[in-house]
């Protein structure tokens, strides 16, 4: 599906970086999200008729604008204004907005656009306007197959987010996770994938065997995960475009906790034998296996730094689960977590400066971040049970899963995905069709 997405960007006008006035600060919790008006994208009647047939949507222009609006809303940085208050028609606004009409409803930024159907392709133009300065900030156009219309909405959001915050967005991305159903004692788990906003859910396995901890390759559409196929817990590789899967961790014992190296060429994982778990890597090209740790304790949950030079992992070599950092060849092992409680699931931020983790202290579970030397620990959220944070590709948002308490008959139990900003604000339930756990966030699908 990704392959045939032709992504063409045409600069309609030169972008005026120099006089950009609106700026959104994403480094602090944003208590005053930027008021933004997302005008429905206009569409001519011929294009609309043709697209109605292919996509079964009444007006694809307003559908795309809804995708953008919803993305901006969930980012917590923007406050999309109600369309009922809009005074100007979409087609006219796209040519030249009457800025006084938009500032009247307190919009500081405005998105307008236009959709055409041409040679069986969907062509979408959009512009971002600074309402107070009365200036155009950005103008872009895309051509793609009509069925990719939601992705167009995500790409528009990424462009707007990047223009206004100065950092790459995370909207044209997907989440792979484990879908869960059935009673706790006989839980059925399947690999599932969906767009970042919860749409286009697909199930990649049937639920015949237990599957856990899927993770994206940061460079392509491969997944690594743990499967209990034939009751042998081993690390697998799955190509989500072709559906082809293969064992990669076929060791004489359980392999688990897999993750890709930043260049996508290696898998790092744990191998357990005779009661001892250590960390190994496998080169995916030549299948050479390297042992990275050699210690009688449990060493697991490894994660590379984005430059590939370091690995963080958790180990109970001190007697309890704590976070350690070492060089990628296994030397210079250093414990970095020293707070009260147990620490697990360290994941290195794609920006390189932080490690996200799960912490258990006095019967409560926390998702937190610390610097890579262990200083500056900050707990973002506390709950009965939550773990396994995964970073958005721009390192600004964490997604994780949370479980609720159940009574002695198992009632009241649920597992759901949640997200929270690095600032500790904007905690949100991420909608999934079923119960869900073990989320992993993809890289941006387009750049």
């Amino acid at each position: 599906m990704i392959k045939y997405f032709k992504y063409i960007v045409i600069f309609l006008f030169s972008i005026t970086h120099a006089n950009a006035l609106i700026e959104v600060d994403i480094t602090r919790g944003n208590l005053n999200p930027l008021p933004i008006a997302v005008s429905p994208l206009s569409i001519d009647s011929n294009s609309n008729e043709a697209l109605q047939k292919t996509l079964k949507k009444k007006n694809i222009g307003s559908e795309i604008s809804k995708v953008v609006e919803n993305n901006l809303q969930t980012s917590g940085l923007f406050n999309p204004l109600s369309k009922d208050a809009f005074l100007q028609k979409p087609d006219i606004a796209h040519l030249k907005p009457r800025f006084e009409d938009w500032s009247l409803i307190k919009a500081q930024a405005l998105i307008t656009g236009k959709v055409f159907y041409q040679n069986e392709k969907l062509r979408v133009e959009f512009r971002l306007w600074d309402v107070l300065a009365g200036k155009e900030m950005m103008a872009l156009a895309f051509t793609t197959v009509p069925t990719n219309w939601r992705r167009v909405g995500h790409i528009i959001t990424d462009k707007v987010y990047e223009r206004l915050t100065g950092e790459k967005g995370y909207f044209d991305t997907r989440i792979i996770y484990v879908s869960e159903e059935g009673p706790k004692t006989k839980r059925i788990k399947k690999l599932a994938i969906m767009d970042q906003d919860g749409f286009n859910t697909k199930y990649l396995t049937l639920g015949n065997e237990l599957v856990l901890t899927p993770r994206f390759n940061p460079t392509n559409q491969m997944i690594t995960y743990l499967s209990y196929f034939r009751n042998l817990p081993r690390v697998y590789l799955l190509d989500i475009e072709t559906g082809i899967q293969e064992v990669v961790g076929d060791f004489p014992g359980m392999t688990f906790a897999p993750r890709f190296s930043p260049n996508g060429k290696k898998i790092i994982m744990s191998f357990a034998m005779d009661g001892n778990s250590d960390i190994y890597t496998m080169d995916l090209e030549n299948r050479v296996v390297e042992r990275i740790t050699n210690h009688p304790s449990i060493d697991t949950s490894p994660s590379y730094s984005p430059d590939g030079k370091y690995i963080c992992f958790n180990s109970d070599r001190s007697g309890y689960q704590q976070i350690y950092v070492m060089k990628s060849d296994g030397t210079k092992v250093k414990r970095i977590s020293f707070g009260k409680g147990l620490y697990g699931t360290p994941v290195w931020s794609p920006r390189g400066d932080l490690i996200a983790f799960t912490k258990l202290h006095k019967g409560k579970f926390y998702i937190g971040v610390m610097r890579t030397d262990g200083s500056g620990e900050r707990l973002l959220t506390e709950n009965f049970y939550q773990e396994a944070p995964s970073w958005s590709p721009n390192g600004r948002v964490l997604i994780f899963y949370r479980e609720t308490k159940s009574d002695s008959e198992g009632k009241g139990f649920s597992a759901k995905l949640w997200s929270i900003d690095l600032t500790g604000y904007n905690e949100r339930l991420v909608d999934t069709e079923t119960d869900a756990s073990d989320p992993s966030w993809s890289s941006l699908l387009s750049n």
Partner: protein
């Protein structure tokens, strides 16, 4: 349904004498490989050390395995839900292996024993309370043939 109601009713009555420290000592979930040979042992939180009661159970299992020399077993190691998924997989493996080591010191060949960890994936008790968790921290010996 009825059976589970009866079981949970018993569980609530016996809370005080079903745990020693936080190791489960009750019989609610226990099944038997043969008369008097319990199929499972229980662990303290984060521990894989065998308790005195566990050793006694495992000596009975070893005696039964010596008598039934054609039977192979799978040791299924488990953890409770109060730990991260990956660490619990390793912990379940460690628990099952401490059982394997003990059976081997009582003369059972390692070739007859295989080990699998389910981490926290297969609890026997769905509850989120200390008694339920204690029943779930276990290694279960299952006939493989």
């Amino acid at each position: 349904m009825l059976a589970s109601l009866v079981l949970s009713a018993c569980a609530t009555k016996k809370v005080t004498n079903q745990m020693q420290g936080d190791v489960y000592t009750g019989k609610d979930t226990v099944e038997y490989l043969a008369s008097g040979v319990a199929d499972r042992v229980f662990f303290a939180t984060n521990e894989s050390v065998l308790t005195t009661a566990s050793r006694e159970t495992l000596r009975k299992q070893a005696a039964w395995l010596r008598k039934n020399s054609k039977i192979n077993v799978v040791l299924e190691g488990h953890a409770d839900e109060r730990g991260t998924r990956e660490y619990n997989l390793a912990l379940g493996e460690r628990r099952a292996n401490s059982v394997k080591d003990y059976l081997m010191t009582y003369g059972i060949s390692g070739n007859r024993i295989s080990v699998i960890s389910y981490g926290k994936e297969r609890p026997v008790d769905s509850g989120s309370n200390p008694l339920a968790w204690s029943k779930n921290r276990r290694s279960v010996t299952v006939k493989a043939n």
